[in-house]
Structure formats: structure tokens, C-alpha cells
Symmetry: C2
Subunit: 152 residues, 2 copies
DNA sequence: CTTTATGCAAAGTTTTTGCAGATCA
DNA sequence: TGATCTGCAAAAACTTTGCATAAAG
């Protein structure tokens, strides 16, 4: 049983369809399945987690297809990768308009989600309140470079 | 032949030594070797790159030890991990005071390094000049959480 | 009916681990 | 000397790929 699709989900679906169209790819049953499984995942998830979820739910999609679909969903900017210092990739939804950032403890790997504020100083204040000792930060933009814009 | 250690390198070395001391770990030949190889690496590097470099230079340190040392150097906050959407970890020096950020193209994986500015708007202006179309960003703090501060 | 997608299983990469012998404090 | 380290090789974890068959448009 699948949850009702939200407006956001449908918007993402359109984006994905247009991406596939532009690339001359087909909207197959497997792609649909993976898309909706991804939409139902919350927060960060790893490729293998999705594989397991699909297995448990008997979605009938193979590991290979899931990996292939994740790459596409990434290409279509439906999901993005996040950096958690583990050896496997982590993904999360791009659409999540309530963008959040991450503070990771280098000792225990715990992650604190931080809302999107406007000023750097405010982040530091917030993290200080959480008793998180900041050693540094990294800002990571994703998008399309000049070259790829032209190819498109 | 090894390059002359800079002031920064020595400061990092002290930090590492203190970390080892606190943890009851020994400053072994292998740890020294890996430390200095890491100091000589520039920009981002992957664990396997270091393995290859040590092999070429006949440093006599095994792959296992290199992986183990990288974890420690990470724990000691001598290096940090960066997120480049490839399947292996990337590291860079923490000490690099000329902190920079990254903009990655989701199509070709090209990375633009962006200097550390003060305001978000300035980043967008800069990237616009580079004809990089920003889809989103992620801010990633690293440090020590409350719990681990107490344990320490 | 042509093109693209899929599953499978095998291969490829990256990382971790157990253990016996070596090294450090 | 007693604790921690190391290399080795094997295993584990994650990801990709080739190919024959299936499905989509």
C-alpha cells in the first residue's frame, strides 16, 4: 500500500519524466517503482537501504536497477548526495524545500540537522546552544557547470 | 626525499601526537610515515591515491595501515572528509586556513573551488560569473558533539 | 518492430578484519 | 615486558557491468 502522493511528489515526478524524455529514456515500471520508493524514504538514505526496502516490500526491482535509477534520479536533480563520511553514498530529496544542513560529530558520527538560516554567525550561535564544538565547515553547492549547460 | 616541514605541518603534528597520547596510542614509524605523506598531499585525495603514492615511493606501509591511519587522522581532526559523490572517500587537510568550498556539477562531476566568502549572496554572484547554475547547497559543519565533549 | 530496460550473476572497487609476529614505551 | 601495531590475505561491503531476454513507445 502506497501513501498518497503529495503535490511536491507530483512536481518531482514531472521533473523526472521530462528528464527521461529529453534523454530519450523510457518511463518503465521499474523506474516508477524506484521513484515512488524514493519519495517515501525520509531524511537521508543509502542505496543499500533502498535495496533492502524494496526487497522487504516485494517491489520486484533488482539491485542493479535500483543503483541505475538512483544515478538517474541524481542526474534529474530529484535527489542529491550528502556527505556523511561513511563508505557508501547517502541521498536525500532535493525537493525538500525546508532545506537543512548538517553538523557531524567527528567522534561518534552523530548528525545534528540544522535549519537553513541566513547568516553564518547564527549557525554558530545555534550550535553553541546545542553544545556542539565547531571545528570547521564546508559549503557545497551543486548545480550545472557552464560546459554542461551548453551541451544541454 | 621529503619536503621541508612547514610551521603548519609541525602544528598539525603536535595535534596528532597529543591525540595519540590521550588515546594511549603509540607514535609508530608507520603512523609517522602516513602523517607526512598526508601532509605532502595537496588538495583532495582519496585513500587509494595515498596507497598508490606510498607504494611508488616505497614507504613500506601497507594498505591496511594507511586506512587505519586515515581514520585516526580524521579522529584527530588533521584531515576532514569532503563529499564528491564518488564511491570512495575524499580527504583534505583541516589546517588549510585558506578554507575553500566546492561547487560540483551534477552532470560531469567537475568541481569548482570557491573561496570562503562571508555572505551567501556573494557566493551566488561569484558562481553566476563562472556560469555555474546553482540548484542548491549544503552546509556541513564538523566538530565535537556534547556527548563526546564530556567523554573526552 | 526498434530501442531501451531489466535481472542475473559475475566482476570490480573500496574498506575492514583476524591473527601471528614485530615494535614501541 | 606488556601493550599496541603491523602486514598479510581473506572477507565484507558497496557498486558496476555484460549479456540474454523483456518491455516500452
Amino acid at each position: 500500500m502506497r501513501k498518497k502522493a503529495t503535490h511536491q511528489h507530483l512536481a518531482e515526478h514531472t521533473k523526472y519524466r521530462q528528464y527521461l524524455l529529453k534523454k530519450g529514456l523510457k518511463l518503465s515500471r521499474a523506474r516508477e517503482t524506484v521513484f515512488w520508493e524514493v519519495m517515501e524514504a525520509h531524511g537521508h538514505f543509502a542505496a543499500e537501504e533502498l535495496v533492502k526496502q524494496c526487497a522487504i516490500r516485494n517491489r520486484g526491482v533488482s539491485r542493479a536497477t535500483i543503483y541505475r535509477s538512483l544515478k538517474e534520479l541524481f542526474g534529474a536533480a530529484v535527489i542529491r548526495e550528502t556527505a556523511f563520511g561513511e563508505k557508501h553514498h547517502h541521498f536525500e530529496h532535493v525537493y525538500d524545500e525546508k532545506l537543512h544542513h548538517h553538523a557531524r560529530c567527528i567522534h561518534c558520527y552523530k548528525i545534528i540537522e540544522v535549519p537553513c538560516l541566513q547568516e553564518y554567525k547564527k549557525y554558530l550561535e545555534l550550535l553553541k546552544k546545542e553544545h556542539f564544538q565547531v571545528l570547521g565547515h564546508e559549503l557545497h553547492f551543486y548545480g550545472t557547470c557552464q560546459n554542461c549547460l551548453e551541451i544541454k
